[in-house]
């Protein structure tokens, strides 16, 4: 045996399908971009400022925390940038810089890194940040108050706020198509349902998000809204109205589907989505907030570990 060349070894399998965390982040970022750009078109450069600050500060908080905590630098995986973008897309275009910075700090450091970083966050980081901002600075997060200085060529009242205050009379004039294509007031990146739907379908087709969750979420919203609407059509808006206003489509495709805080099994995904969708409508119709969808997402996150106990029986499982 004259030859003593030592070969490189590794463990099976020797193939990989090539999927990477960075690619997933990039896909989500791309899928969310059209809706975000529409917000810039609608609200102007201040919206761009909020989005840019949100993305960049999220990345910097992540970098800073991993440095201080001596964890491996993880900004390269793009997940912090995605959280920053999604957070920014839910904000009013007029939100001041310090509130954006606080929000990304909460999202990245409090809601994610403290729990161990990527894959370990029990709640959707962007939803946690928006929820805390809504409680902390109610007026600044209220779209009617925040966007009072803007002039629009469509009714400038936050649709969900209008229906909550004045019943369906206030919204009967609104065209569902107009709402769907973004002729409404709301978060920077959450007003154009058409762009959000396109982004969501793209993510489903690319296998980045699991279709069960958004479909169940939208079904949960629609069914619950239909029940309310049937009970009192003057007070509660129609299911279609609920689907195209507020954060519904954004939440279905971009919040509920966050990997770490959502279940992975088929039935749990359906329950998770449906429950979060139903709770979102409950909060809108009989809760304090005109739009409390982020709280519904957080409640869904809360029950996720229990839901994933519903699982198929493993091969040959005894007992």
């Amino acid at each position: 045996m004259p030859e003593k060349q030592k070969l490189v070894v590794s463990f099976a399998p020797f193939w990989h399908n090539g999927n990477r965390v960075t690619d997933r982040s990039l896909q989500i970022f791309l899928a969310a971009t059209p809706a975000a750009l529409f917000g810039v078109y609608r609200f102007g450069l201040s919206a761009l400022g909020v989005l840019a600050l949100s993305v960049s500060s999220a990345v910097l908080w992540e970098l800073a925390f991993t440095r201080v905590a001596k964890r491996p630098v993880s900004v390269g995986d793009g997940t912090a940038a995605v959280i920053g973008l999604l957070f920014g897309m839910m904000l009013p275009a007029s939100l001041p810089w310090w509130a954006v910075l606080t929000g990304t700090f909460i999202a990245i450091v409090v809601a994610r890194q403290i729990y161990g970083g990527i894959g370990a966050n029990p709640f959707n980081p962007a939803a946690v940040a928006v929820a805390i901002l809504m409680l902390a600075w109610k007026q600044r997060m209220d779209f009617d108050t925040a966007l009072v200085n803007y002039a629009f060529d469509f009714p400038a009242a936050f649709p969900l706020g209008a229906v909550k205050a004045f019943g369906t009379d206030a919204i009967n004039e609104l065209s569902l198509v107009d709402l769907f294509i973004g002729r409404q007031v709301g978060g920077i990146g959450s007003i154009c349902g058409a762009a959000l739907l396109a982004g969501g379908v793209y993510l489903i087709l690319r296998g980045v998000i699991r279709w069960e969750i958004p479909i169940a979420f939208l079904a949960g919203v629609a069914v619950t809204a239909a029940v309310f609407h049937a009970a009192n059509p003057f007070k509660f808006a129609s299911p279609a109205f609920h689907l195209v206003t507020g954060l519904t489509l954004f939440g279905a495709f971009f919040l509920a589907t966050e990997d770490a805080s959502s279940p992975v099994n088929f039935i749990p995904m359906l329950i998770f989505g449906a429950a979060a969708g139903a709770i979102a409508v409950f909060i809108r119709n009989i809760g304090v907030f005109a739009e409390g969808l982020v709280f519904a997402i957080l409640v869904g996150n809360l029950i996720q570990p229990l839901l994933d106990k519903i699982r198929p029986k493993a091969l040959g499982k005894v007992g």
Partner: protein, 430 residues
């Protein structure tokens, strides 16, 4: 070999990985005569003392039994020649072997031990001569009073992608396979025989009078015994148990054919059939004595391994990377594959992001997203008790799809090994 790694544009579906059929135009297996000494790996029991009945300088015949430790275990010389070295050879997972090197002589002479008794086939004869034949039949399973076998399952399908050794044997040596089935039934009393083949080939095997022919789904890993049990026989093997516990004995087509040939001719088969998968991706068939170094096999096809390339015994999903070109062909080596350094999967220590791809791809329906957290923390007992560690069929699909590139299969195999090791030492500590 990058074709299987590319993603579909629309990645909604699961990876659809199909077993490779025998190419329609494949050359007959090329016979490779070893240039260097052949090396036979004899398992060395712990604290074993060699019985000096094999010494350096001894001449051995083709098909001759070589037993170093007097425990009934033996290897079969695949060539005629002189023993040139005896050396320790470390195996994986704590197993140790003694490598017996035999320098081939120009003239071949066959051992005639079997010739005297092959007319009267018996389990004792098989155990005496055929335990280490190509295909590695696992004959000890046939003689287990606690686990009576009722069905012999002849695997004319391969266990890994790109490999078609067993499929080729079933097609090209069907006479030997049939003889082998008859012999096995005769010596073991197993009543039923089933031949597994590719689904579309079931019709073509109507001529098999000795067993029922059943088709296996093309999609990897359907040919795995535990999954065949569930899909074709409607019996799930309880986690941690074996197919034999349910009375089913899976045996490779090559092992069965070797048994058939042995009893037909009175000579112990010593040549192993291999699928060789070079870097260019064009597979070839080779036949070579057991013990031939992998380097000799690859040289024949002009396949050199560059820095960082993997040489794998087996296929891309379940194979084992070899650390040396001296590694010999073993009785159950079905393939050698050379994988370019750039195409080889790398693992990482990135955490699980809970995307659930592994859960959806797992044929054993395991909660791998949760299991992997326990395995990473070394909590093997919990992994076994609560997260179905023993249901795993070790197909490797979870690692294949993992976006965090966690070496999940390696964790699982390690965990099973550690649990077995702990169990085997527990009585000593008590």
């Amino acid at each position: 070999m990058t074709m299987m790694r590319s993603k579909a544009l629309l990645g909604m579906g699961q990876p659809r990985m199909e077993y490779t059929p025998v190419p329609p135009r494949i050359d007959r297996p090329e016979f490779i005569r070893p240039a260097d000494p052949v090396t036979l790996l004899h398992l060395r029991p712990p604290e074993a003392k060699a019985i000096p009945n094999v010494k350096v300088g001894d001449t051995v015949k083709t098909g001759q039994k070589l037993s170093l430790y007097g425990n009934g275990d033996y290897v079969t010389s695949s060539v005629t020649g002189a023993v040139s070295a005896l050396a320790p050879f470390p195996g994986s997972f704590g197993r140790n072997y003694t490598a017996i090197s035999i320098a081939p002589a120009p003239a071949e002479e066959h051992d005639d031990g079997l010739l005297a008794v092959h007319q009267a086939p018996s389990l004792a004869t098989a155990w005496d001569f055929l335990a280490a034949i190509p295909g590695l039949p696992g004959l000890q399973r046939l003689n287990d009073a606690d686990r009576p076998l009722k069905t012999l399952v002849v695997c004319g399908v391969d266990q890994d992608l790109l490999v078609f050794t067993q499929q080729y044997v079933l097609a090209a040596r069907s006479h030997d396979v049939q003889t082998g089935i008859r012999m096995l039934q005769k010596i073991s009393g197993i009543e039923e025989a089933v031949i597994l083949t590719r689904r579309e080939a079931v019709q073509g095997y109507g001529g098999h009078s000795v067993g029922r022919v059943m088709g296996v789904d093309h999609r990897y890993p359907s040919a795995t015994p535990q999954l065949v049990m569930a899909a074709l026989f409607g019996r799930e093997v309880p986690a941690g148990r074996t197919c034999e516990d349910l009375g089913y004995c899976f045996m490779s087509a090559e092992a069965v054919a070797s048994i058939g040939a042995a009893f037909r001719t009175g000579r112990v088969p010593v040549n192993k059939l291999l699928t060789v998968i070079p870097k260019d991706g064009v597979p070839r068939l080779a036949e070579t004595p057991i013990g031939t170094p992998v380097g000799d096999v690859l040289n024949r096809f002009g396949t050199a391994a560059g820095p960082g390339d993997r040489i794998v015994a087996g296929g891309p999903m379940r194979g084992r990377a070899l650390f040396s070109l001296d590694y010999p062909v073993q009785p159950d080596t079905d393939a050698f594959m050379v994988l370019d350094a750039a195409a080889a999967a790398h693992s990482s220590d990135y955490p699980c992001i809970n995307c659930g791809d592994c859960v959806r791809v797992c044929p054993a329906r395991m909660q791998i997203n949760l299991l992997v957290r326990y395995l990473e923390a070394g909590k093997y007992a919990d992994a076994e008790e609560s997260y179905d560690l023993n249901s795993c069929v070790e197909c490797g699909l979870c690692s294949y799809v993992c976006v965090s590139k966690i070496p999940i299969l390696q964790y699982i195999v390690l965990a099973k090994h550690e649990l077995a090791r702990m169990r085997s030492t527990e009585p000593l500590n008590a």
